[in-house]
Amino acid sequence: MSQQLKKGVLEMCVLTLLSNKDSYGYEIFQEVNSILTISESTIYPILRRFVKSYYCETYVVVANEGKPPRKYFKLTNLGISRCTSIVEEYRKFNDKIDIMLNKYWKEEQYE
């Protein structure tokens, strides 16, 4: 999948993932990566930006077995509404692209 396309939707993916459950940086990467195959370094700037623009809050969870604490990310109300609006926007966008594709793209032509 092209990097350009991924870049555009990565924010939305992380937002939806966090709307489902709180998570920590590495886990977020792993889950997104399992579906989209992304580079790890792209996740951290996004998370940082979410905190900066108040979409996310962080809290620290002390793990057992002597493991160091993890920093969890939790969507704020602002983050949730941002998530809703961007998903809605994406759906509309997607529908329009589908119309575009259905109308002009004739797969048979090139088969």
Partner: protein, 470 residues
């Protein structure tokens, strides 16, 4: 590569970011190492620090490509070009810019020190102190800020140069304009300085307006049978005028608050201005600025009177003497004044000034001694047994001089002698040229010439029996 090295590499790559931003990313990756058992495994799964930094910096809108191009090796021609630009343009401009803070800091010190020169009574004291301190504080603040700006600019120039040469230096990154004053301190000092300046201005206006009321008074005294005159004043012009009346008249123009004594003992008269320690500071104050040139001593002497001794002691003022005859000693002691004396007959003639030119015309005397510094000495049409002339950093010119012994001492300047008929002459200058010729009598023989200059040329064309050149 281990965890520590990985993180420090990443930190280095991100050094262009603010510390707080950088730390956040480092924290992410630091935490990242906790999720797997071995650090090697984590590093293997991660991209290289350079690659990660590139993604992060791109996210911050920093074009990383440019950075790498800039660090490429520059060509020799461009290095030479930059060095020439540095030397010819940037360096001179920077140095002259640098003089601004330093002169400001100097002004700051000077206005503080200068205060003491102005203390004269309550009003001037207060106004000088407040003005001086205010000025000092304000210039100190501006000076320090300007100095900081220069340092900041200097770092930028250095960074620009190093970048151009392809050298990466950690000190040149993250240049920020640092104020060395904390903000409240800066404000307090500024307000204090401005308040002091305002107070000082108000007091100076009061002081000056009250000074205007100080009267200039004139005192006249007539003396008979005078042979010796002794004048000891400060900041006053001294003039001697020939009159037809038989008595000596001294006109003393002075300020209301000045004190003086007139004294006649036998045939000697003395005019002495009194000044104690505090009046010593008086010698350059508001009052004097306002009445400069108004104060003077005028001595009227009968046309046919031959004085025995005439001693004049003053400072920063002109002394005008002409057509005077003194049988014993004529002494003029002044500072910072130019002296122009002509048509004088005396036995011993002593002139002492500093920073003033001395010009003597038509003098007949047994000995002449002229001592000045930084002033040009010109002797014209002189007849004297001994002549001693001492100055530094100024030219010495002689024209038509008859003497037995001449001693000339200057440094860094030229000695130019024309028609000097003497038996012995000593000339000493260090960095100046010595020129000696007698065009009106080329056959005159000087017994002994001793000429000393270290870096100058000799041009001695007079006849002589002995000549020592050094």
């Amino acid at each position: 590569m281990n965890k520590k090295k990985f993180l420090s590499d990443l930190r280095k790559e991100l050094s262009i970011l603010d510390k707080s931003e950088r730390d956040e990313y480092i924290e992410f990756y630091n935490e990242r190492f906790d999720y797997e058992e071995s650090d090697e495994k984590v590093i293997a799964s991660l991209e290289s620090p350079e690659r990660i930094a590139k993604v992060i910096l791109n996210d911050h809108g920093i074009n990383t490509e440019q950075r790498y191009i800039r660090n490429n090796k520059p060509s020799v021609a461009s290095i030479i070009g930059i060095i020439i630009l540095d030397i010819l343009v940037i360096f001179p401009i920077y140095i002259s810019l640098l003089s601004v803070p330093f002169s400001l800091l100097l002004i700051s010190i000077c206005s503080l020190v200068g205060v003491f020169g102005f203390i004269d009574g309550f009003l001037t004291g207060i106004s000088a102190t407040t003005l001086g301190f205010g000025m000092s504080i304000i210039t100190l603040i501006i000076g320090v800020l300007a100095l900081n700006f220069c340092i900041y600019l200097g770092k930028h120039i250095l960074k620009w140069n190093l970048d151009a040469f392809g050298i990466k230096f950690s000190i040149t990154k993250n240049i920020k304009f640092k104020k060395s004053f904390s903000k409240p301190l800066l404000w307090i000092l500024s307000v204090m300085g401005i308040c002091l300046l305002l107070t000082g201005t108000i007091f100076s206006i009061i002081a000056i307006s009250s000074t205007g009321k100080t009267q200039i008074l004139t005192e006249e005294k007539i003396f008979q049978n005078v042979k010796n005159i002794n004048i000891d004043v400060k900041e006053k012009d001294v003039r001697i005028i020939k009159v037809s009346s038989p008595d000596v008249k001294i006109k003393y123009v002075y300020r209301e608050d000045g004190t003086y004594t007139f004294e006649q003992i036998g045939n000697s008269i003395t005019l002495k201005e009194n000044y104690d320690f505090f009046n010593y500071f008086d010698y350059w104050n508001f009052n004097d600025l306002l009445s400069l040139g108004e104060k003077m001593v005028i001595i009227e002497i009968p046309e046919d009177l031959v004085l025995e001794n005439l001693i004049i002691n003053t400072s920063n003022s002109r002394v005008n003497l002409s057509e005077i005859e003194v049988s014993n000693k004529l002494k003029i002691d002044t500072s910072n004044s130019s002296l122009s004396l002509s048509d004088i007959t005396t036995d011993e003639f002593i002139i002492d000034t500093s920073n003033g030119k001395v010009m003597l015309n038509n003098i007949t005397s047994t000995s002449i001694q002229v001592d000045t510094s930084n002033g040009k000495i010109t002797l014209n049409n002189i007849t004297s047994n001994d002549i001693l002339v001492d100055t530094s950093n100024a030219d010495i010119n002689f024209d038509t001089v008859h003497a037995n012994n001449v001693t000339i001492d200057t440094s860094n300047r030229n000695v130019d002698l024309k028609d000097v008929f003497t038996k012995r002459i000593n000339i000493d200058t260090s960095n100046g040229n010595i020129s000696y010729e007698n065009p009106s009598d080329r056959d005159y023989v000087v017994d002994y010439i001793w000429a000393d200059t270290s870096n100058g040329h000799f041009n001695i064309t007079v006849k002589h029996t002995e000549l020592v050149k050094r």
